[in-house]
Amino acid sequence: MKLRILLADDHEIVRRGLCALLQKREGWEVCGEASDGREAIEMAKQLNPDVVIVDIGMPHLNGLDTTRQLLQHDPHFKIIVLTITDSDQVIREALDAGARGFVLKSDAARDLVSAVEALQSKRMFFTPRVNDLVLRGFLDKGHAISRHEPPSLPILTAREREVTQLLAEGKSSKEVASLLNLSTKTVETHRSNIMRKLSLHSIRDLVVYAIKNNIIQIQMPPQSTTAETPVA
Protein backbone atom coordinates (compact mmCIF):
# COMPACT_ATOMS: atom_id res chain seq x y z
CA MET A 1 0.00 0.00 0.00
CA LYS A 2 1.27 3.47 -0.85
CA LEU A 3 2.44 5.95 1.75
CA ARG A 4 0.19 8.98 1.29
CA ILE A 5 1.62 12.43 2.00
CA LEU A 6 -0.19 15.77 2.26
CA LEU A 7 1.91 18.88 1.54
CA ALA A 8 1.07 22.34 2.84
CA ASP A 9 3.14 25.34 1.71
CA ASP A 10 1.96 28.65 0.32
CA HIS A 11 4.55 28.63 -2.47
CA GLU A 12 3.69 26.46 -5.42
CA ILE A 13 7.33 26.37 -6.51
CA VAL A 14 8.29 24.85 -3.15
CA ARG A 15 5.46 22.30 -3.40
CA ARG A 16 6.68 21.35 -6.88
CA GLY A 17 10.17 20.84 -5.53
CA LEU A 18 8.95 18.82 -2.56
CA CYS A 19 6.68 16.72 -4.78
CA ALA A 20 9.55 15.93 -7.14
CA LEU A 21 11.69 14.97 -4.17
CA LEU A 22 9.11 12.74 -2.48
CA GLN A 23 7.68 11.06 -5.54
CA LYS A 24 11.10 9.75 -6.55
CA ARG A 25 10.54 7.23 -3.77
CA GLU A 26 8.70 4.17 -4.97
CA GLY A 27 5.60 3.57 -2.92
CA TRP A 28 5.15 7.20 -1.86
CA GLU A 29 2.54 9.52 -3.29
CA VAL A 30 1.60 13.12 -2.63
CA CYS A 31 -2.14 12.74 -2.16
CA GLY A 32 -2.87 16.43 -1.77
CA GLU A 33 -1.40 19.93 -1.78
CA ALA A 34 -2.64 22.83 0.33
CA SER A 35 -1.59 26.46 0.08
CA ASP A 36 -2.48 27.51 3.64
CA GLY A 37 -3.19 26.00 7.02
CA ARG A 38 -6.96 26.11 6.81
CA GLU A 39 -6.93 24.29 3.49
CA ALA A 40 -4.48 21.75 4.94
CA ILE A 41 -6.85 20.96 7.79
CA GLU A 42 -9.80 20.46 5.45
CA MET A 43 -7.75 18.24 3.13
CA ALA A 44 -6.27 16.21 5.98
CA LYS A 45 -9.76 15.48 7.33
CA GLN A 46 -10.90 14.34 3.88
CA LEU A 47 -7.80 12.46 2.72
CA ASN A 48 -6.54 11.01 6.02
CA PRO A 49 -2.88 11.04 4.88
CA ASP A 50 -0.15 8.98 6.54
CA VAL A 51 2.14 12.00 6.86
CA VAL A 52 1.42 15.74 6.77
CA ILE A 53 4.22 18.19 5.90
CA VAL A 54 3.44 21.77 6.93
CA ASP A 55 5.38 24.97 6.37
CA ILE A 56 5.43 27.21 9.45
CA GLY A 57 5.02 30.52 7.62
CA MET A 58 1.69 30.14 5.85
CA PRO A 59 -1.01 32.79 5.44
CA HIS A 60 -4.43 32.61 7.15
CA LEU A 61 -3.30 29.88 9.56
CA ASN A 62 0.37 29.28 10.28
CA GLY A 63 1.96 25.83 10.43
CA LEU A 64 2.17 25.67 14.23
CA ASP A 65 -1.52 26.35 14.73
CA THR A 66 -2.29 23.99 11.85
CA THR A 67 -0.34 21.29 13.69
CA ARG A 68 -2.19 22.00 16.95
CA GLN A 69 -5.61 21.88 15.29
CA LEU A 70 -4.84 18.74 13.29
CA LEU A 71 -3.71 16.87 16.39
CA GLN A 72 -6.69 18.12 18.33
CA HIS A 73 -8.89 16.64 15.61
CA ASP A 74 -6.94 13.37 15.45
CA PRO A 75 -3.87 12.72 17.63
CA HIS A 76 -2.70 10.04 15.19
CA PHE A 77 -1.69 12.51 12.50
CA LYS A 78 2.06 12.37 11.88
CA ILE A 79 3.28 15.87 11.17
CA ILE A 80 6.59 17.23 9.92
CA VAL A 81 7.14 20.97 10.32
CA LEU A 82 9.15 22.77 7.65
CA THR A 83 10.79 25.99 8.73
CA ILE A 84 13.24 28.62 7.54
CA THR A 85 14.65 29.09 11.04
CA ASP A 86 15.59 26.78 13.89
CA SER A 87 15.55 29.34 16.67
CA ASP A 88 15.02 27.96 20.18
CA GLN A 89 11.55 29.44 20.35
CA VAL A 90 10.37 27.97 17.06
CA ILE A 91 11.76 24.56 18.00
CA ARG A 92 10.05 24.66 21.38
CA GLU A 93 6.73 25.67 19.88
CA ALA A 94 6.92 22.98 17.21
CA LEU A 95 7.63 20.34 19.87
CA ASP A 96 4.87 21.70 22.12
CA ALA A 97 2.44 21.68 19.20
CA GLY A 98 3.12 17.97 18.72
CA ALA A 99 5.19 17.85 15.53
CA ARG A 100 7.12 14.59 15.16
CA GLY A 101 9.53 15.92 12.59
CA PHE A 102 11.30 19.24 12.19
CA VAL A 103 13.17 20.02 8.96
CA LEU A 104 14.84 23.23 7.84
CA LYS A 105 13.60 24.28 4.41
CA SER A 106 17.17 24.90 3.29
CA ASP A 107 18.00 21.28 4.14
CA ALA A 108 14.78 19.75 2.83
CA ALA A 109 16.45 18.22 -0.22
CA ARG A 110 18.77 16.34 2.15
CA ASP A 111 16.55 15.68 5.18
CA LEU A 112 12.92 15.43 4.14
CA VAL A 113 13.02 11.88 2.79
CA SER A 114 14.79 10.73 5.97
CA ALA A 115 12.19 12.54 8.06
CA VAL A 116 9.29 10.84 6.30
CA GLU A 117 11.04 7.47 6.63
CA ALA A 118 11.50 8.08 10.37
CA LEU A 119 7.82 8.87 10.88
CA GLN A 120 6.86 5.88 8.77
CA SER A 121 8.84 3.74 11.22
CA LYS A 122 7.13 5.39 14.18
CA ARG A 123 10.25 7.38 15.04
CA MET A 124 10.76 11.13 15.22
CA PHE A 125 13.10 13.22 13.09
CA PHE A 126 14.79 16.42 14.12
CA THR A 127 17.72 18.43 12.83
CA PRO A 128 20.96 18.05 14.80
CA ARG A 129 20.31 21.41 16.47
CA VAL A 130 16.91 20.29 17.72
CA ASN A 131 18.40 17.04 18.99
CA ASP A 132 20.98 19.07 20.94
CA LEU A 133 18.27 21.23 22.47
CA VAL A 134 16.10 18.28 23.42
CA LEU A 135 19.09 16.55 24.99
CA ARG A 136 20.05 19.71 26.86
CA GLY A 137 16.49 20.05 28.09
CA PHE A 138 16.48 16.42 29.25
CA LEU A 139 19.81 16.80 31.04
CA ASP A 140 18.61 19.97 32.67
CA LYS A 141 15.34 18.40 33.80
CA GLY A 142 13.30 19.93 31.05
CA HIS A 143 14.01 23.54 31.80
CA ALA A 144 16.87 24.36 29.47
CA ILE A 145 14.85 24.92 26.35
CA SER A 146 12.52 27.48 27.77
CA ARG A 147 14.50 29.15 30.52
CA HIS A 148 15.39 32.32 28.66
CA GLU A 149 12.46 32.43 26.30
CA PRO A 150 9.46 34.67 26.52
CA PRO A 151 6.27 32.81 27.42
CA SER A 152 4.65 31.26 24.37
CA LEU A 153 0.95 31.54 23.70
CA PRO A 154 -0.69 30.12 26.80
CA ILE A 155 -3.55 32.53 27.21
CA LEU A 156 -5.05 32.69 23.74
CA THR A 157 -7.52 30.09 22.54
CA ALA A 158 -6.98 28.41 19.17
CA ARG A 159 -9.67 30.65 17.67
CA GLU A 160 -8.08 33.76 19.15
CA ARG A 161 -4.71 32.79 17.63
CA GLU A 162 -6.40 32.42 14.23
CA VAL A 163 -7.98 35.84 14.59
CA THR A 164 -4.65 37.31 15.76
CA GLN A 165 -2.88 36.02 12.66
CA LEU A 166 -5.54 37.32 10.27
CA LEU A 167 -5.65 40.76 11.91
CA ALA A 168 -1.85 40.93 11.92
CA GLU A 169 -1.89 40.08 8.21
CA GLY A 170 -3.86 43.28 7.71
CA LYS A 171 -7.37 41.91 7.32
CA SER A 172 -10.37 43.87 8.60
CA SER A 173 -12.81 42.42 11.13
CA LYS A 174 -15.27 41.96 8.28
CA GLU A 175 -12.74 40.04 6.19
CA VAL A 176 -11.79 37.88 9.18
CA ALA A 177 -15.47 37.16 9.81
CA SER A 178 -15.94 36.08 6.22
CA LEU A 179 -12.87 33.81 6.27
CA LEU A 180 -13.84 32.12 9.54
CA ASN A 181 -17.59 32.00 8.91
CA LEU A 182 -18.28 34.14 11.96
CA SER A 183 -20.26 37.33 12.43
CA THR A 184 -18.34 40.60 12.43
CA LYS A 185 -19.57 41.18 15.97
CA THR A 186 -18.06 37.87 17.14
CA VAL A 187 -14.73 38.75 15.53
CA GLU A 188 -14.77 42.13 17.23
CA THR A 189 -15.41 40.41 20.56
CA HIS A 190 -12.44 38.09 19.89
CA ARG A 191 -10.38 41.13 18.97
CA SER A 192 -11.25 42.93 22.22
CA ASN A 193 -10.48 39.81 24.26
CA ILE A 194 -7.13 39.36 22.49
CA MET A 195 -6.11 42.98 23.11
CA ARG A 196 -7.18 42.75 26.77
CA LYS A 197 -5.47 39.41 27.44
CA LEU A 198 -2.22 40.54 25.85
CA SER A 199 -2.38 44.10 27.19
CA LEU A 200 -2.11 45.52 23.69
CA HIS A 201 -3.46 48.89 22.65
CA SER A 202 -3.28 49.03 18.86
CA ILE A 203 -3.11 46.91 15.73
CA ARG A 204 0.54 47.93 15.49
CA ASP A 205 1.14 46.32 18.92
CA LEU A 206 -0.72 43.24 17.69
CA VAL A 207 1.47 42.97 14.60
CA VAL A 208 4.63 43.25 16.72
CA TYR A 209 3.28 40.55 19.07
CA ALA A 210 2.46 38.29 16.10
CA ILE A 211 5.94 38.66 14.64
CA LYS A 212 7.70 38.10 17.98
CA ASN A 213 5.68 34.95 18.61
CA ASN A 214 6.07 33.45 15.13
CA ILE A 215 2.38 33.81 14.35
CA ILE A 216 3.35 35.66 11.19
CA GLN A 217 6.72 35.98 9.52
CA ILE A 218 8.03 39.03 7.79
CA GLN A 219 10.50 39.38 5.01
CA MET A 220 13.42 41.78 5.03
CA PRO A 221 15.03 43.09 1.84
CA PRO A 222 18.68 42.21 1.33
CA GLN A 223 20.93 44.71 3.12
CA SER A 224 24.26 44.00 1.49
CA THR A 225 26.07 41.52 -0.66
CA THR A 226 27.00 39.53 2.40
CA ALA A 227 23.58 39.63 4.05
CA GLU A 228 22.34 36.22 5.02
CA THR A 229 18.60 36.31 5.35
CA PRO A 230 16.73 33.00 5.41
CA VAL A 231 14.24 33.47 2.63
CA ALA A 232 12.83 30.69 0.47
Binding site: K105, A108, P222, T225
Partner: protein, 136 residues
Protein backbone atom coordinates in the same frame (compact mmCIF):
# COMPACT_ATOMS: atom_id res chain seq x y z
CA UNK B 1 17.53 26.75 -30.86
CA UNK B 2 17.71 25.50 -27.28
CA UNK B 3 17.53 28.07 -24.50
CA UNK B 4 20.24 27.42 -21.91
CA UNK B 5 19.13 28.24 -18.37
CA UNK B 6 21.10 28.63 -15.13
CA UNK B 7 19.12 28.34 -11.86
CA UNK B 8 20.34 30.33 -8.85
CA UNK B 9 18.61 29.97 -5.47
CA UNK B 10 19.98 29.09 -2.05
CA UNK B 11 17.27 26.48 -1.42
CA UNK B 12 17.75 23.20 -3.31
CA UNK B 13 14.06 22.41 -3.03
CA UNK B 14 13.19 25.66 -4.83
CA UNK B 15 15.73 24.87 -7.56
CA UNK B 16 14.10 21.46 -7.90
CA UNK B 17 10.69 23.10 -8.24
CA UNK B 18 11.99 25.52 -10.88
CA UNK B 19 13.62 22.68 -12.77
CA UNK B 20 10.38 20.67 -12.72
CA UNK B 21 8.46 23.60 -14.18
CA UNK B 22 11.07 24.44 -16.83
CA UNK B 23 11.71 20.88 -17.97
CA UNK B 24 8.17 20.80 -19.31
CA UNK B 25 9.53 22.70 -22.32
CA UNK B 26 11.60 20.37 -24.52
CA UNK B 27 13.50 23.21 -26.20
CA UNK B 28 14.81 24.52 -22.89
CA UNK B 29 17.81 23.08 -21.08
CA UNK B 30 18.84 23.67 -17.47
CA UNK B 31 22.62 23.82 -17.85
CA UNK B 32 23.52 24.40 -14.23
CA UNK B 33 22.53 25.37 -10.71
CA UNK B 34 24.10 27.68 -8.14
CA UNK B 35 23.23 28.37 -4.52
CA UNK B 36 24.46 31.95 -4.18
CA UNK B 37 25.73 34.92 -6.18
CA UNK B 38 29.39 33.95 -5.99
CA UNK B 39 28.72 30.48 -7.35
CA UNK B 40 26.42 31.98 -9.98
CA UNK B 41 29.27 34.10 -11.37
CA UNK B 42 31.48 31.03 -11.66
CA UNK B 43 28.71 29.05 -13.37
CA UNK B 44 27.95 31.87 -15.83
CA UNK B 45 31.53 31.69 -17.09
CA UNK B 46 31.48 27.91 -17.32
CA UNK B 47 27.98 27.26 -18.67
CA UNK B 48 27.34 30.40 -20.75
CA UNK B 49 23.58 30.43 -20.19
CA UNK B 50 21.11 32.44 -22.26
CA UNK B 51 18.93 33.05 -19.20
CA UNK B 52 19.91 33.24 -15.53
CA UNK B 53 16.96 32.66 -13.17
CA UNK B 54 18.09 34.49 -10.05
CA UNK B 55 16.81 34.79 -6.47
CA UNK B 56 17.28 38.13 -4.66
CA UNK B 57 18.05 37.06 -1.10
CA UNK B 58 20.96 34.68 -0.90
CA UNK B 59 24.00 34.20 1.34
CA UNK B 60 27.51 35.46 0.43
CA UNK B 61 26.31 37.63 -2.47
CA UNK B 62 22.72 38.68 -3.02
CA UNK B 63 21.01 38.61 -6.40
CA UNK B 64 21.13 42.35 -7.06
CA UNK B 65 24.92 42.45 -6.80
CA UNK B 66 25.22 39.16 -8.68
CA UNK B 67 23.09 40.50 -11.54
CA UNK B 68 25.26 43.61 -11.85
CA UNK B 69 28.40 41.46 -12.09
CA UNK B 70 26.83 38.88 -14.40
CA UNK B 71 25.88 41.62 -16.86
CA UNK B 72 29.46 42.96 -16.71
CA UNK B 73 30.86 39.51 -17.31
CA UNK B 74 28.43 38.43 -20.02
CA UNK B 75 26.20 41.20 -21.40
CA UNK B 76 24.35 38.67 -23.59
CA UNK B 77 23.08 36.63 -20.65
CA UNK B 78 19.60 37.78 -19.69
CA UNK B 79 18.64 37.80 -16.01
CA UNK B 80 15.17 36.93 -14.73
CA UNK B 81 14.61 37.58 -11.03
CA UNK B 82 12.42 35.07 -9.20
CA UNK B 83 11.82 36.36 -5.71
CA UNK B 84 9.52 36.63 -2.71
CA UNK B 85 9.85 40.43 -2.74
CA UNK B 86 6.52 41.61 -4.11
CA UNK B 87 7.82 45.16 -4.19
CA UNK B 88 7.87 47.78 -6.98
CA UNK B 89 10.95 49.31 -5.38
CA UNK B 90 12.87 46.04 -5.48
CA UNK B 91 11.69 45.47 -9.04
CA UNK B 92 13.03 48.86 -10.12
CA UNK B 93 16.34 48.09 -8.43
CA UNK B 94 16.54 44.77 -10.27
CA UNK B 95 15.87 46.37 -13.65
CA UNK B 96 18.37 49.12 -12.87
CA UNK B 97 21.21 46.60 -12.51
CA UNK B 98 20.38 45.03 -15.87
CA UNK B 99 17.72 42.39 -15.25
CA UNK B 100 15.26 41.82 -18.06
CA UNK B 101 12.55 40.14 -15.98
CA UNK B 102 11.08 40.13 -12.47
CA UNK B 103 8.45 37.70 -11.17
CA UNK B 104 7.38 36.78 -7.63
CA UNK B 105 7.54 33.26 -6.27
CA UNK B 106 3.91 33.16 -5.19
CA UNK B 107 2.82 33.33 -8.85
CA UNK B 108 5.52 31.28 -10.51
CA UNK B 109 3.24 28.60 -11.90
CA UNK B 110 1.39 31.37 -13.73
CA UNK B 111 4.33 33.54 -14.77
CA UNK B 112 7.55 31.54 -15.01
CA UNK B 113 7.27 30.01 -18.47
CA UNK B 114 6.02 33.20 -20.07
CA UNK B 115 8.75 35.19 -18.34
CA UNK B 116 11.58 32.86 -19.45
CA UNK B 117 10.24 32.90 -22.99
CA UNK B 118 10.11 36.71 -23.00
CA UNK B 119 13.58 37.33 -21.56
CA UNK B 120 15.15 34.66 -23.78
CA UNK B 121 13.93 36.83 -26.67
CA UNK B 122 15.40 39.91 -24.95
CA UNK B 123 11.96 41.25 -24.05
CA UNK B 124 11.10 42.71 -20.65
CA UNK B 125 8.70 40.76 -18.44
CA UNK B 126 7.67 41.99 -15.01
CA UNK B 127 4.82 40.73 -12.87
CA UNK B 128 4.16 41.55 -9.24
CA UNK B 129 1.70 39.34 -7.39
CA UNK B 130 -1.33 41.59 -7.67
CA UNK B 131 -0.41 43.53 -10.73
CA UNK B 132 0.94 41.55 -13.69
CA UNK B 133 2.65 43.88 -16.15
CA UNK B 134 4.04 41.97 -19.11
CA UNK B 135 5.73 44.42 -21.41
CA UNK B 136 7.11 44.06 -24.90
Amino acid sequence: MAVRILLVDDHPVVRQGLRTLLEGRSEWEVVGEASDGVEALEKVSAAQPDVVVLDVTMPRMNGIEACRLIKQKDPNAEVLFVTQHDSPQMMREALAVGARGYVVKSNLARDLLEAVEAVSQHRVFTALARNPQPAG
